[in-house]
């Protein structure tokens, strides 16, 4: 009990930790998990590889924190868009949510790929699982609501359709075949993605299809 670091030091320490997470996230968003080495993350934050272990017990721990923060933010944004009550009908809300998801995936393509698709080290596999489950559940809830209101096909299983929807949109936007898109091409692809998502969800009438697209 002879040493109790003062607030300033604690703050600096916390700041450095934040910096590590931020830089690591930036690396993943730029190069994917493959680019996230202890050396690279530490260097980006201006410290040596060894010093990183004063802040995280292992690389896996750092990676988990990076993943969970980014993933949490993504799901929150999506959930927010899906809950947006400005348009009461479920179909519009779903379209709005998919549009949000799609635009974010296109703009942060590598990050979206890293979160959703890229293989990760064993230590994060469960986090990946949790993320996908959250995505699925969030979409599934909307689909279930749509079914209850008769706006969507009722012979479907919401969880399965929700999974398919996620897979379809992800494949179109960040799948290995989809080149990075921007500008008018992005609007076309995203428009198609939204239409496909609505079909996946079994939207019954030939949808009104407003402009779900949300520009950045």
């Amino acid at each position: 009990m002879v040493y109790r670091p003062p607030v300033a030091v604690l703050e600096r320490r916390a700041e450095l930790r934040e910096c590590l997470v931020a830089q690591a996230t930036a690396i993943v968003a730029r190069e994917g998990w493959a680019g996230l080495t202890v050396t690279a993350a530490a260097a980006a934050a201006g410290i040596s590889a060894g010093a990183l272990y004063k802040h995280f017990p292992s690389k896996a721990s750092l990676a988990r924190e990076v993943f969970n923060r980014a993933a949490g933010k993504e799901v929150d944004v999506l959930a927010g868009a899906l809950a947006d009550s400005s348009s009461p009908d479920v179909v519009s809300r779903l379209g709005h949510g998919v549009a949000t998801f799609a635009w974010r995936a296109v703009r942060g393509r590598q990050l979206a790929y890293s979160l959703l698709v890229e293989p990760v080290e064993p230590g994060i596999a469960d986090a990946r699982l949790a993320l996908r489950r959250r995505y699925r559940d969030v979409f599934a809830a909307v689909i279930a609501e749509g079914m209850a209101r008769g706006e969507m096909l009722d012979s479907q299983v919401p969880e399965i359709s929700a999974g398919a929807l996620t897979g379809a949109v992800a494949e179109v936007l960040v799948g290995p075949l989809s080149a990075p898109v921007s500008g008018p091409a992005a609007e076309l692809v995203i428009g198609q993605a939204i239409a496909i998502a609505l079909r996946c969800a079994g939207v019954t009438e030939s949808a009104p299809i407003h402009d779900h697209r949300r520009r950045p």
Copy 2:
């Protein structure tokens, strides 16, 4: 010119090479690419790691051959199912193709995952890309035909819908959230997958939906 191996030796050599490919494929089908080490593949074929290099210049070369053979077979089977002219209407053919794809994915789950989703070493990335492109093109051709015949929504872009269809089905069947299924559960999931695929493809009328399911 003093040594010309006799036919028997050449045969044995070719046989061993085949054995290596077969064993390596079995390993991938069982444990995924992560399990495919030079040592393991060589041991499975009954030789040492060093000897493997008398048959393949590198591990990447072996892996490529494993990938290309398995992938080629899968696409061929799918293309065959889609071309099956026993049912003339495009929608039935598509359903039949998806059912084939789905059953194969469920029965050879790890292999399907390894071919479609699991990250691979750089040396096979292009082969993966080619496989997905072939899947997409094969489905896109059917969708284009359906559009031409007025059986499918004509505001779609066949290549995009085909990609989405592949992503959706893959996600439902071998995605990280889908537990291995078998028996009645498999029939339910596959039935849903087929229905979703048809919706993705923009099948217009509320499809007749025969029994597309093909039991093993």
